[in-house]
Symmetry: C2
Subunit: 246 residues, 2 copies
């Protein structure tokens, strides 16, 4: 048995939401009713809007990303932002706070996004009633843990960045013309990967000089996949469990 078995691959944006995909299969209940009971209507979230959650606040709800991209971060004593993660459609925000009941990071939109709100009280009750929901949350948390552990290792700038690009493609796929769109700023990528933004820029340029990628206006094209994968291999983010989109 693996928890994977309980998580069929779903295609459309809306059904991607793990919470909802459980709810709509609720036995004998009215899906629409359970849904409205459970989740606040989807909320639009713009860059610069107030935070979904703030580090240190009592955790009141998990947030499920329906569209766009959300980043979570903490602010250290020096006022510096430290990005903890990027969340894409299908991802759930706040899982690291379940143990302590307190949000460990602040969450804001990177691009115009939509999220659904799963109040913790309702979720807790649903998890008891429907083990499949608990399984889905457990699976998400486990995957996020595996990712964090993989990225926590010591790797060079090239290894980190190659792994990030490939991983991103695995999660959000390619846009038109096979271009990988990077929704977040290079500064944010560097912050997340523990690299200065200048290092991100220079490393991308080095990738381009080697013929591994081609940078365009709104993203980049992965040309030499094998080379990138060879560079990223030590990080170990290439396992199937880390992918989601096609």
């Amino acid at each position: 048995m693996t928890l994977e078995a309980a998580a069929p691959t779903l295609k459309t944006d809306c059904i991607l939401c793990p919470v909802r995909s459980c709810l709509v299969h609720r036995d004998g209940g009215d899906p629409a009713h359970a849904w409205s009971d459970m989740l606040a209507p989807r909320q639009a979230l713009m860059p610069g809007d107030r935070a979904l959650q703030r580090a240190g606040d009592r955790l009141q709800a998990l947030h499920s990303v329906r569209g766009g991209c959300v980043k979570t971060f903490t602010i250290d004593a020096a006022g510096q932002e430290r990005i903890r993660g990027f969340y894409f459609p299908g991802d759930i925000i706040g899982l690291d706070a379940l143990a302590g009941g307190v949000s460990l990071s602040t969450a804001v939109a990177v691009v115009p996004s939509q999220v659904c709100v799963a109040p913790l009280d309702d979720l807790q009750a649903l998890m008891v009633q429907m083990p499949v929901i608990a399984q889905r949350l457990m699976q998400q948390t486990s995957r996020e843990l595996a990712m964090a552990l993989a990225l926590a290792g010591e790797y060079s700038a090239e290894q980190r960045l190659a792994a990030f690009l490939l991983h991103l493609r695995g999660r959000i796929g390619l846009g038109i013309n096979g271009v990988l769109r990077l929704p977040m700023a290079q500064r944010d990528i560097g912050n997340y990967l523990r690299l200065a933004n200048e290092t991100v820029c220079r490393t991308l340029k080095r990738f381009e000089q080697k013929g591994w990628i081609v940078q365009g206006d709104r993203g980049l094209r992965l040309v030499d996949d094998a080379a990138l994968q060879a560079a990223a291999a030590p990080v170990g983010l290439d396992a199937p469990m880390f992918r989601r989109a096609a």
Copy 2:
């Protein structure tokens, strides 16, 4: 509601085991019977013994540490060991593999240890029957995720090491005479914290020169707690949820 509420603080070594502490409270069942059904007898595990689990193997069971200290690690293409975590009594090994069903790391004992084995099939059934077990596992996974995210940031050698020492004290407490025993080698600490063992040694010496710690034969004494905590603060491993022992 927080999951914390479902996890009363338990003192003794044996009851620390999260899985068992759920089982012994099973309603209307025979605790001893459920226990023996669920877990293989506690296994002794010595340094140098075969691994509890190996990276890449299909995950067959979670392991609950009853005594001692177990480390998990991966081996990269260059044959180098990368330590993913240290596990102490009460910790569960293998949670990062639940999503994929494949062990992501190899687990061996650092010192003579005892572990209990929770076969995945039985565990899955129990999680459905008893939501409290699912909650406990979820809580552990969430805490481990929060730890991994905290440690994944970019910090100096001093910050990392101070956070590690304080965190270790929070988890395993102090021995006789208030001495913090370090069960693992400095090389392992450095590997875990992404530092060369020489850097660990030099940083500890610097701590001693500043009067923050006193190094002894079999461990060290934390003298200037405030200074250590100030140094470790940016890492953010000092939240109550990360502690366990008194």
